[in-house]
Symmetry: C2
Subunit: 335 residues, 2 copies
């Protein structure tokens, strides 16, 4: 057990892409516990695109990270010490913890996980927040019906991979949009996507989509925004549904980008679009975790992880999300 | 009874605004009836913005008007002759009929109206299609709750006027956007709107909206699109709803206009947007007509009509919708 606690603080709110000046690496003492608190040693840290929003202080659905405080993210770790009746030393837990070796947190903010049931990292993706995001966005907003065509952008991301697989479970034709041949091969060969489009090498995304979706598009699960969405919107069927989950193309914009107006199309086709965040569904998490865990244990949900070693590499792993580096869930192994 | 039937045919599909070349005025014989048909002499014709869509042959939710056939619109008229068991000479009826003195139509396409209950023209607006459009768009998509703020664009149009009044019935703060002082005075003084914005004389619509909506915007009923919607979108509250009813700013566009991308805002605020047409609600018309008629008879729904005389003036009355001429429902008196 190290005697110091490494932390990564938010030093400065980034304009555009985060860079070195965004972060401050410090060493501090391991925190003392107050009543009901638990000391957790991080094993794996999840980096996710939505964190970019929390680095800004613009009005948003999530409270901004505090300046000069540790950044926070999904973590699985081990209980080192507990002042909370529900947790004991040695328990494996997950929660929203510091980018740090250790976090002291009220036990009510933690969830215990069973390391014998599934690899503990799955609590950070397939059966965790990204999985639940896919589950509720696709099923509650997208409402896919058997035989319909579902298009997923950011298809090789942590959320996208689960979306496509659930859509296959529901009997849909699934078309994924991702940024490399390697990703697309994985989506088709391993996850059972019916077709994929490499947006980085395709001249005309709309034409490629038209070919991949001969019956038009009924459901669009959007993680990306921008020109990819423009192309999808032009091919939506009557009564199509758009689950707006992410707009990663725009998170680092410093001013509002212009794009073609598409609402006349939405009007003509009675399209429904709904922006959402997973916390809108807090009161239904149990249902989601149950179904996702069941599909996982049945082998219907596969996953891929991309693990970087070392807390100090978390900032670069986070940036990789925007460069499109990651095939599968990006994790940082801390211990 | 005139011995000839004047008709206005679609001579050419317009590019941009319709003009003289769009129409062909002819005189023809009064049609003979087949079995189950009814001959209706038009009294009032309704001109509505959605008709612009039917003049084009682009893929849309409504079938295009046929070239060299009469244009069609909502009409109230009198039964001259009937081969249908449900209708008799002298009945007052409404339906989608020709821009003409006379139409022969299958009786199943007509609805009888009681001229003693309300002025017959109300079947073309408050308790007809525009009223039902307002009713279902606002209540089913907008779901306004007491105390919420509802913004209506095209507020002085046939649909907008009903939207605002239903929102008042539901206990909301109602802010209307329209294009003249006269219209806005009417909305506030006669229809009970809480505030209005004249988009033609206001430099900064966003700032004006901000002042008119101190608690942000919960429901937006959009008839217009374009820059007005851009301003509204930037002020939507968490879980706001947008009922997308019309995009009159764009019906005469000849190419796709560019505008600021707003989906990041929709994502941050979990906004729902749904395009719709009234025919999505066909199986609930009865409920809508019942409520609208009740509110009308209780004096809770007021209306204003703008009546132009003469079938020959229908094309100009239709263009007036795009010029923003009309305060209230634009009708053409034919007989």
């Amino acid at each position: 057990m190290v005697s110091k606690n490494r932390q990564i603080l938010l030093a400065k709110r980034p304009q555009g892409m985060p860079d070195e000046s965004t972060y401050n690496f410090i060493e501090t003492d391991i925190p003392e516990l107050n009543s009901n608190e638990v000391l957790v040693q991080a094993q794996y840290l999840s980096v996710d695109p939505y964190m970019r929003g929390r680095m800004s202080d613009a009005k948003s659905y999530v409270t901004p990270f505090e300046l000069n405080e540790p950044l926070k993210g999904g973590v699985v770790g081990t209980v080192i010490e507990s002042m909370h009746p529900k947790f004991q030393q040695g328990d494996t837990v997950t929660g929203l913890l510091d980018w740090a070796d250790y976090t002291a947190i009220d036990g009510s903010q933690l969830r215990k996980i069973n390391p014998d049931k599934a690899p503990i990292t799955t609590a950070l993706h397939v059966s965790g927040m990204p999985g639940l995001t896919a589950y509720f966005g696709l099923l509650d907003i997208g409402q896919p019906k058997e035989g319909e065509t579902v298009v997923v952008s950011g298809a090789a991301g942590a959320v996208g991979m689960v979306v496509g697989q659930i859509a296959k479970i529901k009997g849909c034709r699934v078309v994924g949009i991702a940024g490399s041949e390697e990703k697309n091969r994985y989506l088709v060969n391993e996850l059972g996507y019916d077709a994929t489009i490499n947006y980085k090498t395709t001249d005309n995304i709309r034409q490629a989509l038209k070919e991949a979706c001969p019956n038009g598009i009924d459901v669009y699960f959007d993680n990306v925004g921008g020109e990819i969405s423009d192309a999808v919107f032009s091919l939506l069927n009557f009564h199509a549904r758009v689950a707006l989950c992410g707009q990663i193309a725009h998170y680092n914009d410093t001013e509002v980008e212009m794009g073609p107006r598409f609402l006349t199309t939405f009007l003509k086709h009675s399209v429904l679009l709904k922006g959402f965040i997973v916390s809108n569904y807090t009161n239904r998490y149990e249902e989601g975790v149950r179904d996702l865990s069941k599909w996982l244990s049945e082998g219907k949900l596969k996953y891929k992880e991309n693990i970087v070693e070392g807390l100090e590499n978390a900032p670069d792993a986070f940036l990789g999300l925007f460069r499109g580096d990651n095939l599968g869930k990006q994790l940082v192994k801390i211990r």
